[in-house]
């Protein structure tokens, strides 16, 4: 069986699930950011695979992937800025200690 659309979609689902597990179970905010980047990459793989196999001459999936990369760059910058601000004020990056909105 030669490699087709399903292979890329399953790979994308596996990478997304690994990132989801990490994002839900980590006790370090920066590790959670790393896992979110894995999830965004998995979505990009699925979009580019759809673009290649379903509509190869349109390239719409490529366009979506480029916008996801732009949003991911913005997300990483703002996320790290928020982590820096919290670290300066509280001296921790553990999300279980950052609970001031729960009280």
């Amino acid at each position: 069986m030669s490699v087709g659309l399903e292979h890329y979609l399953v790979l994308s689902a596996v990478l997304f699930a690994i990132g989801l597990y990490g994002a839900l179970s980590k006790r370090n905010t920066i590790a959670i950011l790393l896992c979110i980047e894995i999830m965004l990459n998995a979505v990009n793989i699925a979009l580019v695979a759809f673009s290649r196999y379903v509509a190869p001459e349109m390239l719409t999936g490529h366009v979506f992937a480029i916008f996801i990369m732009a949003v991911a760059a913005a997300e990483a910058a703002v996320g790290l800025a928020i982590i820096m601000a919290i670290y300066r004020r509280k001296g921790t990056v553990d999300p279980t200690d950052i609970d001031s909105m729960k009280r």
Partner: protein, 162 residues
């Protein structure tokens, strides 16, 4: 069949690198595994004949985002005892496995209208036409530019010393 071999190699190494990101206790090593995962994803774009996206992946993810994340790890290094798991570990594993199961079920039970057309190569000119040409995504490009500007200003405001 060189493409099939390349796909399996890239897929196995990228999944192993992603697992290393999640399972390694040292956050710095996890970030290095993430860089490997990004490079493998760029290789997957090459196997999908997305040459422009592969170059953008190397430039933006491997070049910029991973350096930003490693900088963040180094600035918060003195408090962390590594990236341990919290007590949601088993529910999270359950959610991830459920996600894989439902997605694979949906993938293999959907009639994808796979087209036999040859992929566009090189993609750069066609992609530029889609982004900036008539009936394209030019408004979205401008919104993305405003979003990036807002993100930069927001990041500066957040980390500025009072």
């Amino acid at each position: 069949m060189a493409l099939d071999f390349a796909f399996w190699l890239l897929a196995i190494v990228s999944v192993a690198a992603a697992l290393a990101v999640v399972l390694l206790r040292d956050v710095f090593r996890a970030a290095l595994a993430l860089v490997l995962c990004f490079i493998m994803v760029a290789g997957l774009y090459v196997t999908l004949s997305a040459d422009f996206l592969a170059a953008v992946q190397i430039l933006v993810y491997v070049g910029a985002i991973s350096i930003l994340l490693i900088l963040g790890i180094m600035l918060t290094r003195d408090v962390q005892r590594g990236s341990l798991s919290n007590k949601l570990r088993f529910p999270a594993l359950l959610v991830a496995l459920l996600f894989i199961g439902t997605t694979i079920f949906a993938v293999f039970n959907t009639p994808w209208g796979v087209s036999a057309g040859a992929p566009v190569e090189p993609t750069t000119a066609t992609l530029a036409g889609r982004l900036f040409g008539e009936n394209g995504y030019i408004l979205t490009v401008e919104i993305a530019a405003v979003l990036l500007l807002a993100a930069i200003i927001g990041a500066i405001v957040l980390v500025r010393e009072k």
